[in-house]
């Protein structure tokens, strides 16, 4: 049944490019997104509570990929509803082009999440680069072309790095040439440590580029700020997670091979650099979408640090990924509402959102507080778990550094993101309310984050636990 998630998007993508019908292009997205999410739920929860390796050779849905599939499914629903408005004033050529690329992107992400094979995973990550580049380029403006160029160029080099890493990994495994994860896990203790280190380093840099870890994050602010808003949400919520999944699985191999301290150090360095970068540029940037992008970098840094800490922090990593995806998607989707009203992404051109579009403003503010990890959000829980683990590891210096940097992030983000809500609105702003589909997805995302932050059902906990078993057992 998982084939549906791979072939069907491709099929629909081809149909949209062949039919060139605007109605089809616009409405195929919400319909398919809902169907896809239903399929994902069926796939994940019909096999609940046991590890499922799948009968097929290359693809499988286990609980870990299931979690990320669910996230992707939800985000896809949200952004496809927003796509209706994003495509409203476009001609049919643009619409079908957009739909084609978005569906290819979704196909690539689905396939990447489900693949059991490192090489395949690499291929699909590259595929997200290509389709993503076209989506970033969609606005056809000067800046969007520049962003798309940087995205494709930097990410291509990134995935080239990842490929070098894969070659080294295969060189490291003395026994088998297979790049299946379970094979590699199985062979890990026998692997040549030095080559494994090389392989891990290069793969980490490569996949880290896609994930947005500093110092190879540089494409991320440009791409996230220039893409259409539903695409920004998908990039930040789905793509980064996919790369993170790859890194988690690779880290698992190093753990089994007994060089966990090596991989931890790399993750630590990249994580701290990411949070540092975010802390620096959150103060500096004048563009609210770029600010959100830097916040993504910060959160990716935290994910990387969770992976560094290991143990209980792995749980934190999964719920942090979930919480970050939903919250960031909510923020990025809301930037659409803001942008369509103010026609600007500059913080200083936008003011008084609370009086022009109260609903968006409320969503925006609540999501902002969720993203800076204020209680009662899921991110608060995950950061607490991370810090708890760090305290147990007695890495107090790191905790102090993180506190300082996170406080800087909060300060800068609050300044930029809340500023657009207050003050007097410019006079010529249209105050009519958008259709409800522009608000409902964000409301659902944010309330899910808050509810899970307050009360995490036992079934949810055991689902995450079983997802963790994939990379711990």
């Amino acid at each position: 049944m998982y084939e549906l998630l791979i072939y069907f998007p491709l099929l629909l993508a081809l149909m949209s490019i062949v039919l060139r019908n605007k109605g089809f292009s616009v409405y195929v997205l919400p319909v398919w997104s809902i169907v896809q999410t239903v399929i994902i739920f069926f796939l994940v929860f019909s096999k609940f509570n046991f590890l499922y390796h799948g009968t097929e050779k290359y693809f499988a849905v286990d609980n870990l990929s299931g979690l990320f599939l669910i996230i992707t499914g939800f985000l896809f629903i949200g952004s496809s509803f927003h796509s209706i408005d994003a495509l409203k004033e476009r001609n049919k050529r643009d619409s079908s082009f957009y739909t084609f690329n978005l569906l290819v992107f979704v196909f690539a992400v689905n396939a990447l999440l489900m693949s059991k094979h490192l090489g395949l995973m690499w291929v699909f990550i590259e595929a997200t680069t290509l389709s993503g580049a076209m989506l970033i380029y969609f606005e056809k403006k000067h800046s969007s072309i520049e962003a798309a160029w940087k995205y494709i160029f930097i990410c291509s080099i990134g995935v080239a790095f990842a490929f070098i890493g894969i070659i080294f990994l295969s060189a490291a495994s003395t026994h088998s040439v297979d790049l299946f994860f379970y094979e590699m896990n199985h062979n890990a203790p026998l692997m040549n440590k030095t080559w494994l280190k090389f392989g891990y380093t290069f793969a980490l840099i490569g996949f880290g580029t896609k994930m947005g870890l500093a110092p190879v994050h540089s494409w991320l602010p440009d791409a996230h700020s220039e893409a259409v808003w539903p695409v920004s949400a998908m990039l930040s919520g789905a793509l980064l997670n996919g790369a993170f999944l790859a890194i988690m699985k690779l880290t698992r191999i190093t753990e089994l091979a007994g060089i966990r301290s090596f991989s931890s150090t790399l993750l630590l360095v990249m994580g701290v650099l990411s949070v540092l970068t975010a802390a620096v540029f959150v103060q500096k940037t004048k563009n609210y979408k770029r600010l959100l992008a830097y916040s993504s970098i910060e959160n990716m840094g935290i994910l990387s640090l969770c992976l560094y800490a290991g143990g209980g922090a792995l749980f934190a990593a999964l719920i942090h990924a979930l919480g970050h995806s939903l919250t960031k998607a909510s923020l990025f989707l809301t930037t659409g509402n803001i942008y369509r009203r103010y026609h600007s992404k500059e913080i200083f051109n936008v003011s008084g959102l609370i009086s022009t579009d109260r609903m968006s403003a409320i969503i925006w503010i609540v999501s902002f507080f969720c993203i800076i990890a204020s209680p009662p959000g899921l991110l608060f829980v995950s950061e607490i778990l991370l810090f708890k683990e760090l305290v147990q590891k007695e890495s107090y210096g790191l905790i102090i550094l993180l506190f300082v940097l996170l406080a800087a992030v909060v300060y800068g983000a609050a300044f930029g993101l809340l500023k657009i809500c207050v003050g007097e609105a410019p006079l010529n702003i249209d105050k009519t309310r958008f259709p409800l589909r522009n608000y409902i997805p964000q409301i659902i995302f944010v309330s899910a984050v808050i509810i899970l932050g307050i009360y995490m059902p036992v079934s949810f906990k055991s689902f995450i636990d079983s997802a963790l078993e994939v990379i711990t057992k």
């Binding site: 590259e126 520049e146 494709i152 080099i157 490929f163 490291a172 040439v177």
Partner: protein, 211 residues
């Protein structure tokens, strides 16, 4: 024979570093594609026929025909001046690439002495090719040369995968080459777009998005 081809790839790197004409770059890319096929075919003791076909498609069709032709077309269409603009002089570039080659062979020597996982000669040349690719990307001003640098990097990686002496699953190989091809294709399209949209003399000035 394959060893000679590999060494020739190294020589082509030296040539690339000194030449100042884009056409020479493209010719060298074509040559490298053919040489790579020769390297791969020379090692084909235990490779199946399908793999040979795939490698052939990859190297001959993509690397030495389609991509160079496409790049040539891009250059012509956008009326890109045919000289390579570099931050470094030809002599300095040559010197650095020589150093890179030396480093590559040093690596090969070291890896051969310690560990026999990789074929030392290919490994050294692939390292050199990758580093040269980065060198080209970092020091040449034109966007189109960045793509060429990326192609050199990719050739190096291909050589590296050959040096691993282990077969990649063919699906992966095919996917890889498809991806690279489409990636370069897209990059070329973007160069077109940049030319048409930016409406300015220098298409290489794309550093407006910054903080």
């Amino acid at each position: 024979m394959s060893a000679i081809a590999a060494v020739l790839i190294g020589v082509s790197l030296l040539y690339i570093s000194t030449t100042a004409r884009l056409e020479s770059y493209i010719k060298m890319l074509m040559l490298q594609g053919i040489l790579l096929f020769m390297v791969a075919a020379g090692n084909a003791h235990d490779i199946s026929f399908t793999s040979i076909i795939i490698i052939g498609v990859e190297t001959i069709l993509f690397k030495s025909i389609m991509i160079p032709l496409f790049l040539l077309k891009t250059i012509r269409k956008n009326q890109i001046k045919s000289d390579v603009e570099s931050y470094f002089s030809g002599f300095t570039s040559l010197f650095i690439v020589t150093a890179i080659l030396t480093l590559g062979f040093l690596t090969a020597y070291l890896s051969a002495s310690s560990n026999a996982v990789l074929e030392p000669l290919y490994f050294g040349i692939s390292i050199s090719a990758m580093l040269t690719g980065f060198f080209i990307i970092a020091t040449r001003k034109k966007l189109i040369t960045h793509i060429m640098g990326y192609m050199i990097l990719e050739n190096g990686i291909f050589l590296l995968s050959l040096s691993a002496a282990k077969e990649m699953p063919f699906i992966v190989n095919l996917g890889v080459s498809m991806d690279i091809f489409i990636g370069v294709f897209l990059a070329g399209i973007f160069i077109n777009r940049i030319k048409t949209n930016f409406d300015q003399h220098d298409i290489d000035d794309i550093s407006r998005l910054k903080d």
